[in-house]
């Protein structure tokens, strides 16, 4: 397995935000994660990316234990992420945002050249905005920049946190296309998303998280159709 998180747990006092969650993805895999708001999905990402320390559990990347590494070291080791709330460097141009990420986030992999960064921007439909200060982008463009910046660090595992919300059908289609392309290059994708149809178009496995625990994982259609998930998600009584 490329990324293997085993028995992850995070508590704030008596509140277990993430409770004994294990997930694993191999190169080229795409795992979708759904769950109600506040279920601990984003915290799970924080644990994997290293911005929050787990109380329990281990994380291995390509067999190497990275549980003790800082977020920066994990980024260099190959864990890329896009944040749910976009945080571009507003004073830099869109292109410069990618350059900085490429130069300092790639780690041992050779840093992406400027032309590669431009290629990412083109692929995500941001090419024409390359020289615009990122602070002038609208929300949807900022979300795409989050994804582009994550890609510029040459990730082996890419964590996507709700990037499809609010897109038009056409925009959603092109986003799905872009993520499929990334996957084809052998990047493992873990994607938290409420826009289920976008998720289903990409992932081959689906995990459901509720109250911090993973309650189901498997074939997306089967998992989503299961009574347990319908109950949590749609409030259908058992």
């Amino acid at each position: 397995m490329l990324l293997e998180a085993t028995g992850l747990g995070k508590s704030y006092g008596a509140l277990k935000v993430v409770d004994d969650v294990s997930i694993a993805v191999d190169a080229g895999d795409a795992l979708g994660i759904i769950g109600p708001n506040g279920a601990g999905k984003s915290t799970l990402f924080n644990l994997i990316a290293g911005s929050v320390r787990p109380n329990r559990g281990t994380i291995r990347l390509a067999g190497r234990d990275i549980t003790a590494l800082s977020a920066a070291a994990r980024c260099r080791a190959g864990i890329g992420r896009s944040f749910q709330i976009p945080r571009p460097w507003v004073g830099l141009t869109v292109y410069e945002n990618l350059l900085v990420a490429a130069e300092f986030g790639a780690g041992e992999a050779a840093a992406m050249a400027g032309s590669d960064c431009l290629a990412i921007l083109d692929r995500l439909g941001l090419g024409h905005l390359a020289d615009v200060p990122a602070g002038r982008l609208r929300l949807l463009e900022r979300k795409r920049l989050e994804l582009a910046r994550g890609l510029a660090t040459r990730p082996r595992v890419l964590l996507l946190d709700e990037i499809a919300g609010g897109l038009t059908d056409l925009e959603c289609e092109s986003l799905i296309e872009a993520i499929r392309g990334i996957r084809k290059e052998g990047v493992a994708i873990i994607w938290i998303e409420h826009v289920v149809h976008a998720l289903f178009a990409v992932v081959d496995r689906l995990a459901v998280i509720s109250f911090g625990a993973k309650i189901a994982e498997g074939d997306p259609q089967e998992v989503f159709a299961s009574r347990q998930v319908q109950e949590i998600y749609l409030g259908v009584p058992a």
Partner: protein, 288 residues
């Protein structure tokens, strides 16, 4: 009329020196959100350093720059790595207290070492050399100050926009947390910023030593000038800092033309007026 124009011209040139005072402060605040209260005292320390090298060892003033700038830069790098990085964080108070302590220590060390006498660096022929420009005389030293400021700020601008380290500094200034998550080493980056700022401080100190009298306690007023230039220009904007320096220089020049006693006061008054009318400064960095 000629007197007035001359006052403005001399004020612009003096503004170059103020911009040099302010550049390091502006850079450090921009990248680290960190205010060095000992900034002015470091400038004065550089001036005394130049005095030592020139008066006692007989080096020419320009050679003093060649020695002091790298020495200050190295000192700045180490100081940031070993001391200042420990007080970097969300709370600005520890940094302010620490550098205030530096300020007190430096002033007293200089007082101990150089006495309270007002000093000046003798630059020989440089002191009196001037270029005629129509009805005006442009002194070599003021001209040197102004061109140095242009070169330093222009160089910094290029560094910020064209190099990876410079871009990373701007990114850090925007959102330091994300920079950390992206895998960059902030401790090193901060130290580079302080090294550059300290090198500029050395340059400003040597030029000040040639231009004006100074004594161990004259750092505070330099810090004030630097603050005024940075704030008038707009926080985080390098060219704004030059503009702020020039405005301060011209205001002081015009004040002095009315009455020599008004020089410093005129600068502060103009600063207050700008602060009231445009608190974000003249060229604030875009923050959409």
């Amino acid at each position: 009329m000629t007197d007035l124009l001359n006052a403005i011209l001399q004020g612009v040139l003096l503004g170059g020196l103020y911009a040099l005072f302010a550049a390091g402060l502006s850079l450090m605040f921009g990248v680290m959100r960190f205010v060095n209260l000992a900034h002015g005292d470091f400038i004065v320390a550089a001036a005394f350093g130049a005095l030592l090298l020139v008066d006692m060892l007989g080096l020419p003033p320009l050679l003093a720059v060649v020695i002091l700038v790298p020495a200050f830069a190295a000192f700045g790098y180490l100081g940031q790595r070993l001391v200042l990085n420990r007080v970097m964080g969300r709370d600005i108070m520890p940094g302010i207290l620490l550098t205030f302590g530096f300020s007190v220590m430096l002033q007293n060390l200089m007082l101990e070492g150089f006495s309270a006498n007002s000093r000046r660096l003798n630059a020989g022929w440089l002191d009196t050399a001037s270029l005629p420009l129509g009805p005006f005389q442009i002194g070599f030293v003021p001209l040197l100050m102004f061109t140095t400021a242009l070169l330093v700020l222009g160089g910094l601008g290029l560094f910020m926009s064209q190099t990876n380290t410079g871009r990373l500094m701007r990114a850090t200034s925007d959102d330091a947390q994300i920079v950390g998550l992206m895998g960059a080493d902030r401790r090193h980056l901060f130290a580079i910023a302080t090294a550059i700022a300290s090198g500029v401080v050395a340059l400003a100190g040597v030029l000040m030593a040639i231009k004006t009298n100074f004594d161990p306690s004259s750092g505070s007023i330099r810090l004030l000038f630097a603050f005024e230039a940075v704030i008038m220009g707009g926080l985080g904007s390098l060219w704004g800092t030059l503009a702020g320096g020039i405005i301060l220089g011209v205001a002081q020049g015009l004040g002095a033309a009315i009455d020599p006693g008004y020089q410093i006061l005129a600068g502060h008054v103009v600063f207050l007026i700008i602060l009231v009318l445009r608190p974000q400064g003249l060229f604030p960095r875009q923050r959409p």
